[in-house]
């Protein structure tokens, strides 16, 4: 585009553009609203529908009408009462506990590795970073069989270890932390260096406390990843006492196949914590996705 041309040369055109463009612009704007609202509805309706179904009786759930489609005529908590007699509280605890371990583990291990890759010079650094990043290209299903065999050899299947240890470091988190540490001012380190602090003290006392925004972003992704993890828990866990919510949900879908309100109630219980988290931290989610686009 010849943007260097002086504008004055084209001043008649400048006046003309708004005139022929205004009607079109207005039409486009209306069209944009229509499309955006329609898509927003399409995104919300399935969730509203599942919430409504969880509040219906089984009979009402199976006889849809326009009036009761998105809200029941007589909301009932029956489905949730049925849930109370299941191990769902245990599964909820498992999901929360596992999420906490993921978050803490990654906050420390990813941050350490990210810091080393960003600010330290050591032999093999660049090659190692390349190797770590290229694992983003490896679909989890590809390594699931060897991981299952190894965890079995190490007697870690059917335990919290299987749900946490393999996930204590991840390539995306290391990348995120490296990006962050590259942006912090060198003066922060210089001050510590004058005091004669070692790298270890510098990291623990100055770098990590100053990295909290990045650690928070990482924590959000770790939470989302662990809360939704399905394939690996499915393979590693067979005893119900170690089920996380997605496993419990998949199990219920088989056990209560025809009882849609109960199945939807678990879907709601699984989604609500994530939704609350999302609403509180939505800026971070969106920010993180635009930087990375990696879905946990």
């Amino acid at each position: 585009m010849a943007s260097a041309r002086p504008v004055t040369e084209h001043s008649p055109a400048v006046r003309r553009v708004p005139e022929h463009g205004r009607a079109l612009d207005c039409a486009l704007r209306v069209a944009a609203y229509v499309v955006l609202i329609a898509v927003a509805l399409a995104m919300f309706v399935p969730f509203v529908f599942s919430l409504a179904t969880s509040l219906k009786t089984n009979v009402e759930a199976n006889h849809l009408t326009w009036a009761t489609m998105l809200w029941p005529a007589n909301p009932t908590l029956n489905a949730y009462r049925t849930l109370a007699g299941t191990p769902i509280t245990r599964w909820f605890f498992n999901s929360a506990f596992v999420a906490a371990i993921w978050i803490i583990g990654r906050a420390v291990i990813d941050a350490m590795a990210g810091y080393a890759f960003a600010r330290m010079r050591f032999p093999g650094r660049d090659l190692l970073f390349l190797a770590v990043i290229s694992t983003l290209m490896v679909p989890p299903i590809v390594v699931i069989i060897p991981k299952y065999i190894l965890l079995n050899n190490w007697k870690m299947l059917d335990s919290y270890l299987a749900l946490t240890v393999p996930f204590l470091a991840d390539a995306f988190g290391i990348f995120l932390m490296k990006q962050f540490f590259e942006s912090i001012p060198a003066e922060l380190e210089d001050a510590a260096r004058i005091d004669g602090a070692s790298r270890y003290r510098m990291f623990a006392e100055i770098i990590l406390p100053n990295a909290m925004p990045a650690v928070a972003a990482l924590a959000i992704f770790s939470f989302q990843g662990s809360w939704n993890a399905f394939l690996e828990p499915l393979i590693y866990i067979s005893r119900q006492e170690y089920f996380t919510l997605p496993l419990g949900l998949a199990y219920f879908r088989r056990a209560y196949y025809t009882d849609w309100p109960v199945v939807m109630a678990i879907a709601v219980v699984t989604t609500v914590p994530l939704a609350v988290f999302f609403i509180i931290f939505q800026r971070w989610f969106v920010e993180g996705a635009r930087r990375s686009g990696i879905k946990g």
């Binding site: 995104m43 590795a113 010079r121 686009g293």
Partner: protein, 325 residues
């Protein structure tokens, strides 16, 4: 070594880093070696061996597992379904993501609201979404109810139980009944899952495109407007070329995601009806954890890995050559 001594004299921290660097990456390295690097090598090794989990022996069978794949109907079907899946979902989610991003990038009210609404399905659990859609697609579910009351036809058997190829349905209308397996197209069941996938991931793609759009400086458009360019020409000649790296990223993400589709298949269709939703990832699971044939499951996994890597490299090269950045 000489440089190390020189560095040490100059800067004690740099010398310390020589060792401390490894200390800092060590915990992550242990996890990566134990759960990614090691398992990748192990998967290759296993694919040349035969193992049924029960017996301790893992005899070497050379290329037998791969040779069996070539002759296997299941593998051919899974490969075809996976290709349909990626070829359908990736362009659709990329296009809808781009369109929504362009729309939401205009100066409109409630931009944050729309961005949030579109993004929410992307962060939800795949199992939750699969179960909700299972209900939406059910015979007496929401979709059939709406179609029915509007007097529109609904598929028989219902969506997720319907093995008929979507192209076959079109051919049938012209009285052509015998077509090659490829021309049958993905089944109604597979297309139902594909649509759900587009619904789920469009928001992620939109957010990434939106970031790319916001990085394009506004004065480029102003200059074009001065030159009398139409909206469409600005989109075609400015927006699209400048978005090329973002598009590369979105398509790469889409390929990685669609080639490994598993959760949805597990919850919604278990590979059926008539194997029309059997994907490569699902086949790895069935061979490995239902038939306990770890060698052939690993061979499928290795093939899937090579396909993913190959597509990524081809795609990068292709866009690299045509790109002018």
């Amino acid at each position: 070594m000489a440089s190390l001594v020189a560095t040490r004299r100059r800067n004690p921290i740099a010398a310390e880093d020589y060792l401390a660097g490894w200390v800092f990456v060590l915990p992550a390295l242990v996890i990566f070696v134990g759960f990614i690097f090691g398992p990748i090598l192990y998967a290759f090794w296993l694919s040349f061996h035969s193992w049924n989990v029960v017996t301790p022996e893992k005899p070497f069978v050379a290329l037998d597992n791969y040779r069996n794949l070539v002759d296997s109907d299941d593998f051919r079907i899974a490969l075809r379904n996976t290709i349909w899946y990626s070829a359908g979902v990736v362009p659709a989610q990329t296009a809808t993501g781009l369109i929504l991003a362009v729309l939401a990038n205009r100066k409109i009210r409630g931009r944050t609201f729309f961005r949030t609404a579109f993004y929410f399905p992307s962060i939800s659990s795949s199992v939750v979404i699969s179960i909700i859609f299972l209900w939406l697609y059910a015979n007496n579910g929401l979709i059939n109810f709406v179609l029915g009351t509007l007097g529109l036809p609904t598929p028989r058997p219902p969506w997720l139980s319907n093995p008929r190829g979507v192209f076959q349905i079109a051919f049938d209308a012209f009285g052509i009944h015998d077509v090659s397996p490829w021309l049958v197209g993905p089944s109604v069941a597979l297309v139902s899952i594909m649509l759900m996938n587009v619904w789920t991931t469009t928001g992620t793609m939109m957010v990434i495109f939106l970031a790319g759009l916001q990085d394009i400086p506004g004065d480029v458009y102003e200059a074009a407007a001065v030159d009398g360019a139409t909206q469409w020409r600005m989109f075609r000649d400015i927006t699209l070329p400048l978005l090329r790296p973002v598009t590369l990223f979105v398509v790469t993400l889409g390929l990685i995601g669609t080639l490994q589709v598993f959760d949805q298949i597990f919850v919604m269709s278990e590979g059926g009806p008539a194997k029309t939703t059997t994907t490569l990832a699902w086949l790895v699971y069935v061979e490995g954890f239902r038939k306990f044939s770890m060698g052939s499951a690993s061979a499928i996994a290795v093939v899937l890995f090579i396909i993913t890597l190959g597509l990524f490299l081809v795609h990068r090269r292709f866009l690299g050559l045509t790109g002018d950045q």
